[in-house]
């Protein structure tokens, strides 16, 4: 009885939604998507001898930006200079940038193919567009700091190091989820 009511409610919501231009496909089964990502990660191990990454690409972008604005400061400061070496000498620096461009393209292709590409702001029902953008920027800044201290993010540490059973990566996974759940009540209004 209860489940019948629930499915009826879900049906009504679907009908009342404004018609979109392109038919939107439902998301892939999460376990299947996980197998897909895991297979890509395995391919990276076999082909390149290293895994996936995301925050490293941001580090390269910031170093390149600083080098363009204040080349002396960038050359004399190790967190920038480390990412400004010659590409031929340090091929993995170029590798992570190209990989991250690939991530954006892959996401774009999938979104367009599924009818999900649209200019929008994903936010909780009680959040405003403005608050969502402020929290997104702030959260990004906090994550940027955290990823630098941890030497990687959900891609480079959690996924890659997790699959390689790296101790530091598993410490990162546990700490990140623990902090996320602990801080969740503070941001409840943004998401629920």
């Amino acid at each position: 009885m209860k489940s019948a009511e629930l499915s009826h409610g879900a049906e009504r919501r679907t009908v009342s939604r404004a018609p979109s231009r392109a038919p939107t496909q439902p998301y892939m089964n999460p376990y299947l998507a996980g197998v897909g990502i895991g297979s890509v990660l395995l391919l990276a191990f076999v082909v390149m001898g290293r895994g996936l990454g995301a925050s490293g690409g941001f580090s390269v972008a910031v170093a390149a930006g600083m080098s363009a604005i204040a080349p002396e400061h960038a050359a004399n400061s190790s967190p920038y200079a480390g990412y400004l070496v010659d590409g031929a000498a340090q091929p993995l620096r170029d590798w992570i940038v190209i990989e991250l461009i690939g991530v954006m393209l892959g996401g774009f292709i999938s979104a367009v193919a599924a009818g999900r590409f649209r200019r929008a702001i994903d936010r909780g029902p009680r959040a405003t567009d403005r608050s969502r953008l402020i929290y997104a920027f702030s959260g990004g800044a906090v994550m940027g700091l955290g990823a630098k201290f941890a030497r990687g993010c959900t891609s480079g540490q959690a996924l890659t190091g997790g699959a390689m059973l790296s101790l530091g990566s598993w410490l990162f996974i546990i700490a990140a989820f623990a902090a996320g759940y602990a801080a969740a009540p503070l941001f409840r209004k943004q998401w629920t």
């Binding site: 998507a33 990502i37 649209r118 941001f187 943004q190």
Partner: protein
Amino acid sequence: MNTPLFEYGFLSHNAGLIAALVIGLGFGFFLERGGLGNATKLAGQFYLKDLTVLKVLFTAILTAMLGLYWLGRFGVVDLTRVYQLPTFVLPQLAGGLIFGVGFVMGGLCPGTSCVSMSSGRMDGLALVGGMLFGVLVFNEIFPVVSIFYNSTAIGEVTIPQLIGVPHGLAVFAIVIAALGSFVLAERLERSPR
């Protein structure tokens, strides 16, 4: 024993960059397919409403971990040539704690923010901007935090090495733990709220 291909010199610099593009394409594609370009879906993880993050992350870890383990056992991949991340205990714990707060605040992680942005979402773009700003702040305060950043360096330690069990046993234990978490996740999602 002649993979990783790049490590054994079978790939030129440019071929490596093409591989990077293909691997990135696949990663971004499956992230978007699984719904991980959507911040509300990711944030649902922290309110136990939508456990997609846990399911995708742990299935991906299991797939790559088991694949690498068996390819290593059959001698296809030379595991000594796969880059093992070094562990820095305190910076990685602290970094994880900071990262987790930012994750629930922003609803996307660095990789998924790129997918969100490239599927047209303005919040994804804002988060990408925030990430760049956070990295800039870290770089500028680096002289102050560099001692902490380089502290408690214990090298390339893995979980089986730490507790002194065979690699295969640790792999098995993680498979069991992940399967348990999937059962729990399905129950939590189905439970009425």
